[in-house]
């Protein structure tokens, strides 16, 4: 089978898992053998991630993308990395625009000296004209004084002091450049959506006492519950989470999940659950670690209650 892989749509289909096994094998073989082709697929992959983040994919492509990319920790990290770039790039673009609209004092002075605006040009022309006039007046004054001296010498009379014409050029006040405080970069303001996310931070517990359990309050608007399971030690490569009610009904399980550093510096395993899975009840989270060799061992329990408002 010989495919023309100049068609990048075919490569997108491959990345989304929308090709036959034969086509997949052919693309993979060529990817391994051909460095240039490999670069091209990686570019298409990046742009596919970008399209997803910018909401440009069709519904079915979006579904396929989420299955292929978001369920896999490494690929999910890549999506988050691209998201970070897009956010930072937009923030930087806004900052640059603000700086252009409200320039700093120094940049205003430099702009003025480079005659970047009409005001600077007119001001310079006016000052130049004044210098020319001033020079002309000074010359005239000197000529007058010379004549006066000649007359005075001729009359030998006490020269009547003449008022001296001594135009002093008072420097014109320089038009002060626009001054404005250096704008501090204002972060891109993302309007917070309605409170659709509820977070609970949990520590491992030995005692399963409902009265001591931390409560997660969910309203009808809350769509996602974020469970942050703080780790006393991060000893495993990855983790598996299993959530049941205290009666033993299975609610959710998933993994592998990788520990991440929280804002406070502790390591935690974070799970985001659709709140439709959590009715008002008491829950146990069993956390298991996956070691390098592969075995899974349960090592911590977390306990929380859900209250519906």
């Amino acid at each position: 089978m010989d495919y023309q892989f100049n068609n990048e749509n075919k490569l997108r289909d491959f990345l989304l898992g929308n090709v036959s096994e034969d086509e997949r094998a052919t693309i993979e073989d060529r990817f391994l053998a051909d460095e240039e082709f490999a670069s091209q697929i990686l570019v298409v992959e990046d742009e596919l991630i970008e399209s997803y983040l910018r909401n440009e994919l069709t519904f079915s492509d979006k579904e396929n993308f989420e299955k292929a990319f978001l369920a896999h920790p490494r690929r999910r990290e890549r999506v988050l990395a691209v998201r970070g770039i897009i956010k930072a790039a937009k923030a930087e673009a806004i900052f640059k625009k603000e700086e252009k609209d409200s320039p700093s004092l120094l940049s205003s002075i430099f702009a003025f000296l480079r005659f970047e605006n009409a005001f600077a040009r007119y001001a310079f022309a006016f000052v130049a004209l004044l210098f020319v006039l001033g020079g002309a007046l000074l010359l005239l004054n000197r000529l007058n004084q010379k004549q006066d001296n000649q007359l005075a010498n001729a009359n030998t009379a006490q020269p009547t002091p003449q008022p001296s014409i001594n135009p002093t050029l008072t420097p014109l006040p320089m038009p002060s450049p626009e001054t404005s405080p250096t704008p501090s970069p204002s972060p891109v303001k993302i309007e917070p959506p309605e409170q659709t996310l509820a977070t609970i931070i949990l520590r491992p517990t030995i005692v399963r006492d409902p009265s001591q359990a931390q409560k997660l309050v969910l309203s009808s608007a809350t769509k996602t519950a974020r469970l942050q399971l703080n780790l006393e030690r991060d000893d495993y490569k990855s983790y598996v989470v299993r959530i049941t009610t205290v009666e033993g009904r299975s609610v959710w399980q998933g993994g592998p999940i990788y520990a991440r550093k929280t804002g406070s510096g502790t390591k935690a395993v974070v799970v985001n659950l659709p709140t439709k899975l959590l009715s008002q009840d008491d829950y146990i989270i069993e956390l298991s670690g996956v070691s390098e060799a592969g075995p899974i061992e349960s090592f911590a329990d977390y306990f929380f209650s859900v209250k519906r408002s």
Partner: protein
């Protein structure tokens, strides 16, 4: 195995690294959670075959076959692990990417890594990613013209820069 890649040892080493990186990606696409380990194991197994005297005419084809064998083993292992967890009522749940207000440490790392880039590279990555949909395509064409480079070369360059940032962010997060 290096001799199969190139006569010159240094060039062979370079090609080995490029090949290994592609293998890592291959395993990632196939759902491996440890793609580097699988890539190394693939190359080790290939090297062992060479030592045993197997004649390999097409190295990439041979390695592809070894890699697929390893994927099969990986899937078998995964099935055993899932059975150990008990029967799953659902497949592994998707962890959604949502835009939340919580301070994401990844973003802090990103900003610091971006600032570490030389100015021209920093500007390139920002200009490349800042616009939305229709403007973005036009903006990238303009950027390519400004840099005097074909659009495709710009895409590849931007992708490499982003991969570089990835590494920096990963180190920052540790």
């Amino acid at each position: 195995m290096l001799k199969l890649l190139a006569e010159d040892r240094e060039e062979a080493g370079l090609r080995y690294e490029q090949f290994r990186r592609r293998l890592v990606k291959f395993f990632e696409w196939r759902g491996s959670l440890t793609p580097e380990e699988h890539a190394d194991e693939t190359l080790n197994r290939t090297a062992r075959k060479l030592v045993e005297g197997v004649v390999i005419n097409d190295l990439s084809n041979f390695v592809g076959g070894v890699a697929r064998r390893l994927i099969f083993e990986m899937l078998e292992q995964r099935e055993r692990e899932q059975k150990a967890l008990g029967k799953l009522s659902e497949p592994v749940a998707l962890i959604e990417i949502e835009d939340d207000d919580e301070q994401d440490p990844r973003l802090d790392c990103f900003r610091s890594c971006l600032n570490e880039l030389p100015q021209d590279q920093r500007n390139l990555i920002i200009d490349y990613y800042r616009e939305d949909e229709h403007k973005r395509i036009q903006q990238r064409k303009v950027l390519a013209d400004k840099l005097g480079t074909p659009l495709n070369a710009l895409r590849i360059r931007a992708r490499r820069l982003r991969a570089q940032l990835d590494k920096c962010i990963t180190n920052c997060m540790k």
